[in-house]
């Protein structure tokens, strides 16, 4: 039975584990080892000698790092020796493993610089060292440029410290799979390494940062990032081997920020920027260090409306530095629009603070992450939110099953029955996403969303249309039967009360997510999984119907 995620138990974990002989890889100065590990398999990497870093975060010597469902590169400035070995095979994630059981088709290294070809072909492993789907050593990397960006930022930060100005606000733009998030990680890692505390903003709803997809987040990074898990983890009730990071999370339940012409995305960005500015004003460390903003690739692909959205972001965050990755066209547009123009910060006029636009090469290691992989990533991020990383294949881009098992944190979400009527549920009805387009009215897109009969900014208050927010609030307490479409999707619990206006609900940061396991329309009950036991807080709830969408079988 291999329904995706269904038999997700530890029992089968070691089923096919055949220890492959470890492979050693020597990297010369300034080269990097690129590797891809499918979901469902793990690869262990140990730094034997020298210095090495994964997206800027340094590897500790002799520690075993375990990766799964990841495409990454380990770079060395000084030269190093790595030991690669196959980790435990993890069961039953074939559903969203790219290639899953067929992944061996893709298993051969793609570049001639490959150092090793491992013969271990157990299960769904690739042919690379340690069972990587693909792995090779590359000598040409843009790391010098990336490091220089860091040094340039440091120059600005020192200046900021000396003059009392704000630190640099960096915007990273570029098409999909150009390495934007990786660059963001590198810059963040370097900044924390020299004792800075950047605020990192993720505006890409496709991939969550410290949260699930569909969220826009801001986080002050002070401590080291998790080598295995990319950004790290948001707070849990228990301790964590890598210090947890505290994200501020907003829910944007759509994949594309241009949806509804950005009318939903834009106000959330404004609100997020406001909070970040508030933090900057109060937190000296963050003020000096500045902001790093990562954007969704769709903004870098010349779609109509994307330039306006970029402009909105540049304005809201008072961006001072725009890094353009991998797109000449976007670079020239940015150069034309922004280079040497004053930034939008209040003090810009006085301090003649100007925006600089810098073009950066895309790393040759950037690979396309196909839909299957992104889907696996989405599912694993959601699973991690509720369950932690009991087994490697379930966490985010890179996972932990470290030998010491210290980084394994198993979380226990609480399942409970809820009265559907007790929920104050809101839904975005985006015409382009809905089958029934009859309610689309561009004129109203400024506001929350359509769906209201009056076709004003819409709150889905138990109103008839596509979906019900059945609210406890007076207006229309229409007891709509709980829609069965709720099943397997996420509900975001906001911080605002059920009686708030639609705009407030839209702009509110969120407390967390519920996962709807079952819907009993007849009785009006739903069974949900909450991260924490106890009563679900009486707050307005937003439905992630379209994004992150359904995750089947999160609860068995």
């Amino acid at each position: 039975m291999s329904l995706p995620g269904l038999d997700l138990t530890q029992a089968t974990e070691e089923r096919e584990f055949v220890p492959a002989p470890p492979t050693q890889i020597s990297l010369s100065k300034g080269s990097e080892w690129r590797f891809e590990v499918a979901f469902g398999t793990t690869v262990r990497v140990k730094l034997l000698a020298g210095n090495a870093e994964l997206f800027g975060t340094e590897l500790a010597p002799s520690q075993t790092y375990t990766f799964s469902g990841t495409k990454a590169a380990i770079y060395t400035w000084h030269g190093c020796t790595l030991e690669i070995s196959a980790g435990d095979r993890v069961s039953a994630i074939e559903g969203f493993a790219p290639g899953g059981s067929t992944m061996t088709a893709n298993g051969t290294p793609t570049t001639t610089t490959t150092t090793t070809t491992n013969t271990s072909t157990t299960g769904g492993r690739g042919f690379g060292a340690g069972g990587c789907q693909s792995e090779y050593v590359a000598e040409e990397t843009p790391m010098v440029e990336y490091a220089n960006v860091h040094f340039a930022l440091e120059t600005l930060r020192q200046e900021a410290k000396a003059t009392g100005k704000d630190g640099p606000r960096v915007l990273i733009v570029g098409p999909d799979n150009a390495g934007k998030s990786s660059l963001g990680k590198i810059l963040t890692a370097y900044a924390t390494k020299v004792g800075r505390q950047p605020i990192v903003v993720n505006l890409d709803p496709n991939e969550g940062m410290l949260s699930v997809p569909g969220t826009l987040t801001a986080t002050a990074f002070r401590t080291m990032m998790d080598v295995e898990e990319g950004w790290g983890s948001s707070p849990m009730s228990g301790p964590s081997a890598v210090p947890v990071k505290l994200p501020l999370v907003y829910f944007y339940p759509m994949q594309n920020p241009l949806e509804a012409e950005g009318s939903v995305f834009r106000p959330i960005v404004s609100r997020l920027a406001l909070s970040v500015m508030g933090r900057m004003a109060e937190d000296e460390d963050s003020r000096e260090t500045g902001i790093i903003v990562d954007t969704p690739g769709v903004l870098g692909q010349g779609k109509p409306g994307s330039l306006e959205l970029i402009n909105h972001i540049v304005t809201e965050f008072s961006i001072t530095t725009i890094l353009v990755l991998g797109s000449e066209r976007l670079y020239s547009t940015m150069l034309k629009n922004y280079d040497n123009k004053p930034s939008s910060s209040a003090s810009a006029a006085a301090s003649d603070e100007c925006i600089s636009v810098v073009k950066l090469p895309k790393s040759g290691g950037c690979v396309d992450r196909d839909a299957t992989f992104m889907n696996g990533l989405r599912e694993s991020q959601i699973r991690t939110y509720f369950f932690g990383n009991p087994i490697p294949s379930t966490a985010s881009a890179a996972l932990s099953l470290s030998a010491s098992s210290t980084t394994n944190v198993t979380l226990s979400p609480h399942a409970q029955q809820l009265d559907f009527n007790s929920l104050c549920l809101y839904n975005y009805t985006i015409p382009s996403l809905e089958e029934d387009e009859d309610e689309y009215d561009p004129a109203q897109l400024d506001a929350f969303l359509p769906g209201d009969a009056e076709s004003t900014p819409v709150k889905e208050e138990g109103s008839a249309p596509p979906l019900p927010g059945v609210t406890g609030s007076p207006p229309e307490k229409s007891v709509t039967p709980a829609p069965s479409a709720l099943a397997n999707s996420l509900l975001a619990v906001t911080h605002v009360s059920p009686t708030s206006s639609v705009a407030q609900v839209r702009d509110s940061s969120i407390m967390g997510f519920l996962y709807v396991a079952d819907v009993d329309s007849e009785k009006g009950k739903i069974r949900v999984l909450a991260p924490i036991g106890g009563r679900v807080p009486p707050r307005a709830v937003v439905w992630g119907k379209h994004w992150p969408g359904e995750v089947v079988g999160l609860v068995g």
């Binding site: 520690q63 440091e154 979380l411 226990s412």
Partner: protein
């Protein structure tokens, strides 16, 4: 589950056992190792005891104590390696400076084994993380190099123990002073660095000797110190009066007066004062016993300091009373004295020895035009050699003082002093290589490779955490940070082990206001301030949870434990869900030793209010005498018939 013994009790026991360890007794050492192994939950306390013991025990007993450390880290390993490793540099170096060369060889051998994996173990990691052993080793190498350089610089013929710091270099080119020369202490290389702190402040500052110093130096009991010196001066004067022609007496008196002058100018830093004080305390008993004359000196020409009552400083035991002055300044004693400062030093002492020696040579060869033709008095020279006193490279002003008056000999060393400035070899600790960062943010500029700047990411912070790869500066501050960081790792691991036994959850995200107000917790700062939630957690293995006003503990996951009633009232505990803790808890419960009581029952029985913090137990009644040791009397004291009636028998 712990034995229920409090850490400090274990520590006390361990300390006593350690004190019995006088020789390299294999049986005793293995015994101590076993105790350590059985008490890993008190590893921190035991490690502290060991460190303290090694620091305070006489040199002859340091080796066996270090062998205990060696045995523990090899046979038990973590967490001891973690705890002991943190201060290993100081512990090792302090011991090393004090022991004789034969012992040093043994220490060298031991250090060598620390760089290798435990023999026969599967673990391929070295006994101690390489950065610890490396710092010790490089310190030793630097010291040896320094010794060599210094000897070459002076063109000295004298054969020094090559490659051995231990062999004290002689005082080569000094015209032999009447009293002999204080030997150059072997520990010099280490001490330099530390006292260097005091000097850097006034580095290159030809400040006049009369500049009043800020009073923050007074923490060492200046009054007592002055009084002690005065006592010494008194007796020295008495000696001088009886034997005015004896140059050694003159010399001693002058030295004391000089010292007093220096003290009164408050030129010294806290550390230096401490050392002076210790020196004086050594001298005091001797002088007072050996010179019983009751000659009262003319104190009027000495600035009179209020002689506050101060606890007389106990002379270090084992100091022969009749030792000549210079022997009191022997390397061992001095090394002992400097260890406080040494302990605060940078891990890698810069090899600056060569600088000071020529200076001392100069000093000693310039005859002072005071009463006696003594080139330099040994006390001052010694102090200077230790960096205790500012070295007077050329004391012109002093030489110009044509006074035959004893009292006027005061300013002898002070005027025109050029303070010795140890070369600062420490990497700039502030954020990366500041100042030289001028990287323009434009497309052309960022294409230029700047390998030099990379050092800010790697070499500038050479002290790497073995667990997570985080880097720290190789400075004192960096070391402290790393120590706290390692603490963090250790505690986190402990807590994770604890946490594995109960369910954990993802927390709700914070709202905007909280996020704006929040500040990132740092793992190299004090743990107490971080995660108050966890701070309030009394894990299963921990003892009494102290948390007024409301007492609670997490409900145990173990079914048997959960069904165990309160030993006092025999009622079961009720689990409630706590929003704050995000876990099931028992309200009004308190854990004492291995038992859980209702806090109210407990406080009623022990009659001391809600303070289970004192690791007591309502013992005697529990029927299991082994539950908690110690502190029994207090509980029995409150046992009264009336209360007895309430108490039911322990069911187990």
């Amino acid at each position: 589950m712990s034995s229920g013994l409090a850490s400090d009790e274990v520590a006390e026991d361990y300390k006593n056992s350690l004190e019995d360890l006088i020789t390299n007794d294999r049986f005793q050492i293995s015994n101590l190792t076993v105790i350590a192994k059985e008490n890993t939950e008190h590893a921190m306390a035991i490690s502290r005891v060991l460190e303290n013991h090694i620091r305070t025990t006489p040199p002859a007993q340091k080796l066996p104590a270090l062998y205990v450390v060696d045995s523990i880290v090899k046979n038990v390993g973590t967490p001891y390696t973690l705890f002991l490793g943190r201060n290993m540099y100081q512990t090792f170096m302090n011991a090393y400076t004090l022991v004789d060369s034969q012992t040093r060889r043994k220490l060298d051998e031991m250090l060598k084994t620390w760089k290798e994996p435990v023999p026969g173990s599967l673990d391929t990691r070295p006994v101690f993380p390489p950065d610890i052993t490396r710092s010790i080793e490089s310190a030793l190498i630097k010291a040896r190099t320094a010794a060599l350089q210094q000897q070459q610089a002076r063109g000295q013929q004298e054969v020094l123990g090559r490659g051995r710091v231990g062999t004290p270099p002689g005082w080569g080119n000094t015209p032999t002073p009447p009293q002999g020369i204080p030997r150059h202490p072997p520990s010099m290389p280490y001490s330099r660095n530390g006292s260097g702190h005091g000097y850097q402040a006034s580095q290159g500052d030809p400040r006049s000797s009369s500049t009043p110093q800020p009073p923050q130096h007074r923490e060492v009991d200046l009054a007592a110190l002055n009084r002690d010196i005065e006592v010494l001066i008194t007796s020295a004067r008495a000696d001088f009066a009886t034997n005015p022609l004896d140059p050694s007496v003159q010399q001693r008196l002058k030295a004391l007066l000089d010292l007093q002058g220096i003290l009164q100018r408050q030129e010294l830093t806290q550390e230096q004062l401490k050392l002076v004080r210790d020196q004086i305390s050594v001298l005091t008993p001797k002088r007072s016993t050996s010179t019983p004359q009751s000659y009262l000196p003319n104190l009027s020409n000495l600035p009179n300091l209020p002689a506050m009552s101060a606890t007389p400083m106990a002379p270090p035991a084992g100091q022969p009373v009749s030792q000549p002055l210079q022997q009191l300044l022997n390397p061992g004693t001095l090394a002992e004295l400097i260890k406080n400062t040494a302990a605060r030093q940078q891990p890698t002492p810069p090899p600056q020895i060569p600088n000071i020696l020529p200076q001392m040579a100069t000093n000693s060869s310039i005859p002072q035009p005071s009463v006696t033709p003594v080139p330099e008095n040994p006390l001052l020279a010694a102090l200077r050699a230790r960096g205790l006193l500012p070295s007077a490279s050329a004391p012109p002003a002093a030489s110009a003082v044509p006074s035959a008056n004893l009292a006027s000999a005061f300013p002898l060393v002070m005027p025109g002093q050029v303070r010795f400035t140890p070369p600062v070899s420490t990497p700039q600790p502030s954020n990366i290589s500041n100042g030289q960062l001028e990287v323009q943010m434009n497309t052309a500029s960022i294409k230029i490779p700047r390998p030099g700047l990379l050092a800010s990411l790697y070499e500038a912070k050479s002290n790497r955490c073995g667990t997570c790869g985080r880097r720290f500066h190789a400075t004192e501050e960096g070391k402290e940070k790393k120590a706290r960081h390692l603490d963090w790792h250790f505690k986190t691991n402990q807590r994770m082990a604890d946490a594995a036994r109960r369910a954990q959850n993802r927390s709700w995200y914070v709202d905007e206001r909280d996020w704006i107000k929040s500040r990132e917790a740092v793992d190299d700062q004090n743990l107490d301030t971080e995660t108050p939630n966890e701070g309030a957690t009394a894990g299963d293995g921990e003892s009494a949870h102290k948390g007024p006003p409301k007492q609670w503990i997490r409900a145990p996951n173990d079914a048997t434990l959960r069904n165990t009633p309160c030993p006092i009232c025999q009622e079961k505990f009720e689990s409630t869900w706590s929003e704050d803790v995000q876990d099931w808890i028992w309200q009004d419960a308190v854990k004492v030793g291995n038992r859980v009581y209702h806090a109210s029952c407990y406080s009623e029985v022990t009659k001391d209010g809600p303070t289970p913090a004192q690791r007591g137990t309502p013992a005697g009644r529990t029927g299991t005498p082994d539950s908690v040791l110690g502190k029994r009397k207090a509980a029995e004291g409150v046992e009264s018939p009336g209360q007895n009636a309430r108490v039911k028998t322990e069911p187990m």
